[in-house]
């Protein structure tokens, strides 16, 4: 590419390439949506699906509208959340391994859920075709999980505020909270009955199939403003990416950007994990792949990582539903299978 010619035209062409990639991702998501809506225990033809989409009384309309669509929307919305949370956390914490999963947010939620199920008696086991556990009172569990992860996040931010708002303090805080919550969960499980232990363990298997329409709306209502906030601050994240002092030299209030970035990304993470359980690695993989493909310009990195997160979760869920059909695996197992080797790859690359 000859940069000596019309610089603006070249820059626009360079930006256009990134926009094309965004379009490709949207297309891939649409294709996965079609796949996802087709796959399932009830064998519906495309004609039946299309009829059911427009006619709520048609054959299979109940399955499409009450089971498959909320499920795939939950996968898309939660995947978007995980992708963008990963980008923002990795950027503000200046650490490639930062994600809701590694920052103790998931462990906080798991503790909250275990507390609700074991201490508040919110859950028991009963066998259903898709989900082996019915939590008697799902809302208590969701609220407790949400509070659990929020307490973790607030503790980290408080430590950072008292000590100093540096990535090191926050990450070490995350590690400490994560250990504390895991210990707390084990403590509760130690004294719980078999069924309670089973229910609380089962809760941690992240599964988008748990989501009902209301959950989707709540997650969406949080995702959209969070995404807009992150996009608005894209240049601040770009500055942070070039180093703390460079960012300050460019007039960025790094403490402010770091605290709010952490707070908002953790908040959305807390909500998704409370509704869906622990789904690891999506928030870690999506930003890492996109960073290599599209670079670290956050104007593009944030939306594309969100889209890739959605795509990964949607495809993983479709795989989870079909790989051992009629058994439906929780999607968290598939994403971790996919993510763990990549995690190792990143660690090995870092050493060089």
């Amino acid at each position: 590419m000859n940069f000596k010619d019309e610089s603006v035209a070249v820059y626009e062409a360079y930006i256009r390439k990134k926009l094309i990639l965004c379009f490709v991702l949207v297309l891939a998501i649409l294709i996965s949506v079609i796949m996802s809506i087709k796959v399932g225990a009830a064998d519906l033809s495309f004609t039946q699906i299309i009829t059911a989409l427009f006619n709520r009384n048609a054959v299979g309309a109940g399955i499409i509208w009450n089971i498959r669509i909320p499920r795939l929307l939950a996968a898309i919305v939660a995947g978007c959340c995980m992708g963008m949370e990963g980008v923002v956390m990795q950027c503000v914490l200046r650490n490639p391994l930062a994600s809701p999963y590694t920052m103790g947010i998931s462990q906080g939620a798991a503790f909250g859920a275990a507390f609700a199920i074991i201490v508040l008696g919110a859950g028991t086991v009963s066998v259903m075709q898709a989900d082996a556990v019915v939590v008697n009172n799902p809302y208590i569990t969701v609220v407790a999980a949400f509070l659990g992860s929020l307490i973790g996040v607030l503790a980290i931010l408080l430590i950072a505020r008292v000590r100093s708002v540096t990535p090191e303090v926050m990450i070490l805080g995350g590690v400490a909270m994560s250990a504390l919550f895991s210990a707390g969960t084990m403590f509760l499980q130690y004294f719980a009955s078999d069924t309670q232990v089973a229910a609380s363990v089962f809760w941690t298997f992240g599964d988008v199939g748990r989501a009902v329409w209301n959950d989707v709306w709540v997650m969406l209502a949080l995702m959209v403003p969070a995404l807009l906030y992150f996009m608005y601050h894209a240049w601040d994240y770009n500055s942070l990416e070039s180093g703390e002092e460079t960012a300050k030299g460019l007039g960025v209030n790094t403490d402010h950007i770091r605290i709010w970035g952490m707070l908002i990304s953790s908040f959305t993470a807390a909500v998704t994990v409370a509704f869906l359980g622990v789904i690891g690695f999506v928030g870690l993989i999506a930003p890492h792949i996109m960073r290599r493909v599209i670079g670290t310009d956050h104007r593009f990195l944030i939306p594309t990582s969100a889209m890739l997160g959605a795509l990964i979760l949607l495809v993983s869920d479709t795989v989870a539903r079909s790989i051992m059909a009629p058994i439906v695996l929780p999607v968290g197992i598939i994403t971790s299978f996919l993510g763990a080797p990549l995690f190792l790859y990143i660690i090995m690359k870092m050493g060089r």
């Binding site: 590419m1 940069f3 000596k4 610089s7 603006v8 820059y11 360079y14 608005y232 894209a234 240049w235 770009n238 500055s239 990416e241 070039s242 180093g243 002092e245 460079t246 300050k248 030299g249 460019l250 007039g251 960025v252 209030n253 960073r291 290599r292 670079g295 670290t296 310009d297 104007r299």
Partner: protein, 257 residues
């Protein structure tokens, strides 16, 4: 005077790092700050840029008190090149364009792009424009970082040891660039230097810091065996070579210490 530092004091906790620092810099001048490690050079740079909030004193940029300026306004007047900068998956073009951050709301204007292109040309970086910065050599990277500070269109350029990681050729090249842009674009450059001879070769003025205070300041005449002995605690000869003073440490028997 484009930059005026008056009675600036700063402490890290109870440790006083800067005490009563005063100096002025004219536009177009290249001023070197000299002193031993820990004498407060980098702290002074950060205070001037208000990255560190100094306790007392006044710093005026373009006759405006920086305490009354917003961070973004300071960034529009002053470019800062820190000692270390991070690399990553960002192209040279985007890395330099980032210097427009104090002016950009969200969307990049044609003017931002054109100015970035002009600065890339000026720094002889246009051939690397679409390369990732983590593929660059140390010298090229330093030029990218300086280019980023330049697109801020600063009145004052602060550079913290810009040549410390570079080989001889790149040291000369980078100092030449700083000298040229200071003179041609009427930018006041303040450079922290460890290499006294490199400083003598390029700078118009010198400020020698000792224990957080200005020990002496002025033209080349302030660099004498006596001042260097006082500031660095080293015995040196100062000789003139092709009109430029050069500092040569006296030979020392290491066993004596």
């Amino acid at each position: 005077m484009v930059l005026s530092v008056h009675k600036v004091e700063f402490s890290y906790g109870k440790v006083k790092v800067l005490a009563d620092v005063n100096f002025k810099v004219q536009s177009g001048d290249l001023v070197s700050i000299l002193g031993v490690n820990g004498s407060g050079k980098s702290t002074l740079m950060k205070c001037i840029n208000r990255i560190l909030k100094f306790e007392s004193g006044v710093i005026l940029v373009d006759d405006e008190d920086i305490k009354n300026m917003k961070d973004v306004e300071i960034a529009q007047k002053m470019g800062y090149v820190p000692q270390t900068s991070e690399t990553g998956f960002i192209t040279v073009f985007d890395a330099v364009l980032l210097g427009r951050k104090p002016y950009i709301k969200w969307d990049v204007s044609r003017e931002d792009v054109k100015l970035t292109k002009r600065v890339l040309d000026l720094m002889d970086l246009e051939k690397y424009a679409l390369r990732y910065i983590n593929e660059l050599s140390g010298g090229e990277l330093q030029k990218v970082v300086i280019a980023r500070a330049l697109v801020q269109q600063p009145k004052v350029l602060l550079l913290d040891e810009p040549t410390s990681d570079l080989d001889l050729k790149n040291q000369l090249e980078v100092m030449n660039i700083i000298k040229k842009i200071s003179r041609n674009h009427k930018i006041a450059s303040v450079v922290v230097m460890h290499d006294i001879n490199l400083a003598l070769r390029y700078s118009d003025k010198f400020i020698m810091l000792k224990e957080g205070e200005v020990f002496t300041a002025g033209g080349k005449e302030v660099v004498t065996p006596e001042t260097i002995k006082e500031v660095y605690g080293v015995d040196v000869h100062v000789r003139s070579f092709e009109g430029t003073p050069i500092v040569i440490p006296k030979s020392q028997n290491i066993d004596e210490n």
